[in-house]
């Protein structure tokens, strides 16, 4: 057992130097605006030009074949540098792992390089008004037609969809089949004929989501991922990565915790250190999550249901960390700014990618082996 990071220090230094030279001095405009979206897309292109947009991917798709440890180190440097939010996040963290597992070589070649370069930005389109946590309840349909499928129905809370180029998600291809069967996983252009998108604001009013209305939107067979009817398995493969290490890298939290310690030092009245315990605790938990990440990548076997353990932990840490910052800010805690933006963002953590209630069920039943709940 060791924590010897010296072999990756050259890589870390390269990333750090590059970021120091390239991270914009002033924050980009919010990526929830048209202007900000374009600026963030340009940033993705800049990252890609240094082969830093998707370091863990194979070289042929724009990556560097980076090891998981290198990826963790990249993320640490990225967030420590205060670099811009990743507008390509949905594609890179949710769609790409799905394609690596279920996609055809043709799909990989076609989809990944423009994703890596920021040329095509992806939005996820999973939730429906009646199917949030209960994904099996979704009702939007895909109907077989010559050479492809026609999509009908509605998706909502589609992240990035207000400005993105393409979307992906599961649809019901066989209305007769059971809840978990008869789904199909598809990619589609957001500018497609028959598709209407309506931006919707998140908690602080910023349009981070959109509603999507499908009216006979045609999708060719080439854009089906996996087999028709096996969309559930494909989607679950994606939630695995959404819940696991990839979506919320430890570097986010260690960087935020370091900033919190800085805020505490700057703001706290030394005679009034009621929040000290919470500041220290946030830092300790961020460190725990970082070390847990090293542990995870050191293990040969796949984490499996343990990704639920991570999800509960990081999502609650993220909320607690930002709540502590807002409480430290006192009367400034309600004001728009980085900490409030981070707080609003953190509040989605316990809800999306399977609510923490569902995660706790998964932990209790699949890790601890407790009996399933009584059925309704």
């Amino acid at each position: 057992m060791d924590l010897d990071l010296s072999p990756v220090e050259p890589f870390r230094a390269e990333v750090r130097d590059w970021l120091r030279a390239h991270v914009p001095a002033a924050p980009l405009p919010s990526l929830e605006t048209g202007e900000g979206f374009a600026a963030h897309r340009a940033w993705e292109r800049e990252l890609a030009s240094a082969r830093l947009s998707v370091v863990s991917w194979p070289e042929r798709y724009g990556g560097r074949d980076a090891t998981p440890l290198e990826w963790l180190v990249f993320e640490e440097e990225y967030y420590a540098a205060g670099a811009p939010g990743r507008v390509s996040q949905n594609g890179i963290n949710l769609l790409a792992p799905t394609l690596f597992r279920y996609g055809t070589p043709e799909q990989l070649d076609r989809v990944l390089p423009p994703m890596a370069s920021g040329e095509v930005i992806w939005a996820q389109a999973w939730s429906e008004p009646g199917a949030g946590s209960d994904l099996a309840a979704l009702r939007s349909t895909a109907t077989r037609v010559g050479g492809g499928w026609l999509l009908n129905g509605q998706k909502t809370w589609s992240s990035r969809a207000a400005f993105a180029d393409r979307g992906f998600g599961p649809f019901r291809s066989d209305p007769e089949a059971g809840r978990h069967r008869g789904l199909i996983y598809l990619m589609f252009p957001l500018e497609a004929e028959g598709l209407t998108r309506r931006p919707i604001g998140r908690l602080d009013g910023k349009p981070a989501f959109a509603e999507l209305f499908f009216d006979d939107v045609f999708v060719p067979d080439a854009d089906v991922i996996g087999e028709p009817g096996e969309g559930w398995q494909v989607a679950m493969g994606t939630t695995g990565s959404e819940r696991g290490l990839t979506l919320r890298s430890p570097g986010r939290f260690t960087a935020a915790a370091d900033r919190l310690v800085g805020l505490w030092r700057e703001r706290a009245d030394p005679a009034d250190t009621a929040l000290r315990d919470r500041v220290a605790d946030a830092w300790i938990r961020a460190r725990a999550y970082r070390l847990k990440g090293f542990e995870t990548i050191s293990r040969a076997e796949d984490a499996g249901a343990e990704s639920s353990v991570n999800k509960v932990f990081w999502s609650e840490l993220d909320v607690a960390l930002h709540e502590t910052a807002l409480d430290l800010l006192g009367p400034d805690g309600e004001l728009d700014g980085d900490w409030l933006e981070g707080y609003v963002f953190s509040l989605a953590g316990p809800i999306y990618a399977g609510t923490n209630e569902i995660q706790r069920n998964v932990i209790a039943e699949r890790v601890l082996g407790l009996p399933r709940e009584a059925k309704a």
């Binding site: 809370w157 998140r202 908690l203 009013g205 004001l335 609003v344 209630e357 059925k375 309704a376």
Partner: protein, 346 residues
Amino acid sequence: MKFVLDAEQRLFGETLNKLLAGAGTAGAVRARAAGDPEPGRALWRSLAGAGVFALAVPEAAGGAGPLPVELVTAFHELGRHAVPGPLAETVAAAGLLARLDAGTGRGSGRGDDAGGLAAAWLPRIAEGTAVVSLALPPAVPYALDADTADLVLVVDGDELRTAAPGAALTSLDPARRLFPVAAGAAEAGTALACGPAVRAAAAAAFDLGALACAAQLTGVGRRLLEVTVEYAMTRRQFGRPIGSFQAVKHRLADVLVALEHTRPLVHGAALAYGSPDFPRDVSAAKAAASDAAHAAAGSALQVHGAIGYTDEYDLSLWIRKARALRSAWGSPAAHRSRVLSCLTGG
């Protein structure tokens, strides 16, 4: 000893509840956020008509107060319906002016003195024709809605003066616009009064504002619980109403437990008005109300899921207000500190 609202007080609260339920308060918030203060102003007038602001104004100055129990009863309903505007600020300002007035000899008639100030503004506050904002740095460093207020006051040390609003800061709560009134930004202000009496009046005003804010928070929390319980009974996931899941039930039960034990603190503080325990009891109420509303908002968000995270659903107005009012009029940590200072004399 009868530590429950009497019939008249209950009726007052119910009347306000009915008035506000039909008044489109969420629409007024959204109009305000979009730049139109008029619906909020109309709400203000009907609240004044129902006697809300007169509760903070002494009878001698055209009011019906001070009536702290009625005031917290009203503010509970104001929070429950997310009424926008510098509500606690106006009430605190009324308290400040009335206290200065009493301190300097009522009706002395000098136009630039505290008595004159009180005579000029208190009746207008009572009748709802004056919306007043107030900053009491450092705990209340910004003047809420100073752009639409008729009078903006700031107490800087032992000086009371008017302040001209600078550039607005954006709050998470779209009903709130905050304006810095830092010493440097005060060129446009006029000095109104000065001396230890101002300091004492500002301290009293802070307590009144914090009490009103605490009551507002209990209303915010109550509404969040009501809406969430209703949602949990109708929303189905995994083939059953989500309110039948123990995780949801227990979470909402905890919110009720917290709210049920916050109301007595708010009522108790209102009854302590004028006693030496008032600051301590206000701080206890504000700390507990901030936490209870915060818990209610957290549960509302978690139980609603993404719907609660969506701007256009009105629920978000209450979730955001719970966060904003938590740090307004003193943070929970600051109020807890004050409770302990009061208890240990330190």
